[in-house]
């Protein structure tokens, strides 16, 4: 690990000021950052520990939404009564991720910014455009069973690894970020960038901006929502494919729908096409399969990850089936 200096931030302003200096980075739960620092993938010269910041509350917003402080631990968010009843998909997504120990450490803000698990990204002895722009992508012609089929470019095919963010994407979450110039609100669908020519740019956060909170808009029908994750073992593994779904079923027809996929996209993958395929239809296998076909229409599989196309479709069909069966 490269040497760094360490400081705790006493308040938001101090944190933002301190991180403005070259080489400085925020430290939250550390479960992504310390891991990558041990591998020399990230080499900050200063760590600004933001765990003392009092951004630890989950509060109800007027109008029925919920605000989640950036320092709320993943385990506390997953077990929050408010989240379990209003947005079960989020609770389920969080509980499907990592392990209880890691969820006790990981924060909402840190989870949003966790880095890809692409093994070439994590191995500094191999070329990687995300780690070192212009050096090439080892995955495209390498072994890429865990890689993405949606949103890829010829420069990077890494998946976004988060489960939480897939649920947040289905729920139209808004990310609140504060920088030297004040606070701004970024809808999660505008937050992540697909790799394109610049895989090293993963989101629209400006250098030095602090995520302070995530807001979930009121979405009464999200009480009928579900997250399903398919992976190589029963637990404690990243998704090969996952789906976050919310269904508004009224009078025997799907009135509204939210569909997002994980494990297959270079960012948490919202599928408006799948939603369109569902709305107005009677819940059932035909509608679900049509939605799944629509969601994966643009898929660009490579040699080792071609199985993900059908896997993602089946995962989505299954998730829709189980969501519709939920009693709310």
């Amino acid at each position: 690990m490269h040497p760094f200096s360490y400081r705790q931030a006493s308040d938001e302003q101090a944190a933002i000021g301190a991180v403005g200096q070259p080489g400085a980075m925020f430290l939250a739960g550390g479960t992504t950052l310390i891991d990558l620092m041990k591998l020399d993938v990230q080499t900050p010269s200063q760590l600004i520990d933001i765990t003392p910041l009092p951004l630890t509350k989950i509060t109800e917003l007027p109008g029925g939404g919920v605000s989640i402080g950036a320092m709320v631990r993943n385990s506390d968010l997953a077990h929050s009564e408010l989240i379990m009843t209003r947005y079960p998909v989020l609770s389920e997504a969080l509980l499907s991720g990592a392990s209880p120990q890691l969820r006790n450490m990981a924060t909402t803000g840190g989870n949003l910014l966790q880095r890809t698990r692409c093994y070439y990204f994590r191995d500094v002895t191999t070329p990687c455009n995300k780690r070192e722009p212009g050096s090439g992508c080892s995955a495209i012609d390498g072994y890429h069973r865990i890689h993405a089929v949606l949103g890829t470019s010829r420069h990077c095919i890494a998946t976004h690894p988060s489960d939480m963010c897939v649920a947040l994407t289905a729920l139209d979450a808004v990310i609140l970020a504060r920088g030297a110039g004040g606070e701004r609100r970024i809808p999660i669908n505008d937050f992540y960038l697909v790799p394109g020519d610049h895989p090293e740019r993963e989101n629209v956060l400006a250098p030095g901006e602090l995520i302070t909170a995530v807001e979930l808009p009121a979405m009464p029908f999200a009480a009928r929502s579900h997250y399903r994750k398919v992976r190589d073992r029963a637990s404690y593994a990243f998704a090969l494919a996952s789906a976050a779904v919310a269904l508004d079923i009224q009078g025997g027809a799907i009135h509204d729908a939210r569909v997002a996929l994980g494990g297959v996209g270079t960012k948490p993958w919202r599928s408006h096409d799948a939603e369109k395929a569902l709305i107005g239809k009677a819940p059932g296998p035909d509608a679900y399969r049509a939605a799944a076909e629509a969601a994966l229409r643009g898929a660009k599989p490579h040699k080792d990850n071609a199985f993900k196309v059908e896997l993602a479709k089946r995962t989505l069909v299954r998730t829709l089936t189980m969501t519709a069966q939920k009693t709310v």
Partner: protein, 208 residues
């Protein structure tokens, strides 16, 4: 040839000693850690750089240390405080061998910086027993043969103790899911689940 348990422990200790020597050698040559072709997985507690004075509260006792900010809590516990109960398996958050409690909640000491733990009450496997009386979870692991080589065991037990305070369903499947962050190479899982269920049942039956 049969390897007795005593031989095995001796062999394990010898390996641990060799690793410690390795770490010492790296300490003497901090530059090697920076420019080596293969990056060092962990910086030894005081490899170059400035140190910071910190106080760690471990098992109820305060420990004053001058520590390199790079030192993880795991390295501080094992190499500076001399508490080698917490084990280093993967050093990357993937195996659970280094699990400790921080303010009563289970966390991974290999991904925690020691400098960031000030003010927290850290509990390690060494802090569970009351004198000669084992913690019920330690006793249950013994009674159920919940370990074979024992390497993962301190982490398993700390994780299990943390689990007792969490909203975990009653079934064996719930225990398995919530212990899935603790990997056991020997495959002692069935007996570990039985041990944990014993303690949980005793807890529910106990008068509150």
């Amino acid at each position: 040839m049969t390897l007795t348990r005593r031989d095995f422990i001796a062999a394990t200790l010898a390996t641990a000693f060799a690793l410690t020597l390795g770490a010492r050698a790296a300490q003497a040559e901090p530059e090697a850690a920076k420019i080596g072709a293969k990056p060092m997985a962990t910086a030894p507690a005081s490899a170059g750089g400035d140190t910071m004075p910190i106080t760690l509260n471990v098992n109820g006792a305060a420990h004053d240390l001058a520590i390199d900010p790079r030192a993880t809590l795991l390295d501080a516990l094992r190499e500076r405080i001399g508490m080698t109960g917490s084990k280093k398996g993967c050093d990357h958050g993937q195996c659970g061998a280094c699990t400790v409690l921080a303010d009563g909640r289970r966390v991974l000491s290999c991904l925690s910086l020691a400098v960031a733990q000030q003010g927290k009450a850290i509990t390690t496997i060494e802090g569970l027993a009351q004198g000669e009386t084992l913690h019920p979870m330690q006793q249950a692991f013994l009674s159920h043969d919940g370990f074979q080589c024992g390497y993962c065991t301190p982490g398993q037990i700390m994780s299990a103790v943390g689990l007792l305070t969490e909203p975990v369903g009653p079934e064996d499947a719930d225990v398995r899911e919530n212990m899935s962050g603790n990997i056991c190479r020997c495959g002692a899982y069935p007996n570990i689940v039985a041990a944990i269920q014993d303690v949980r049942k005793a807890n529910t039956n106990a008068p509150v």
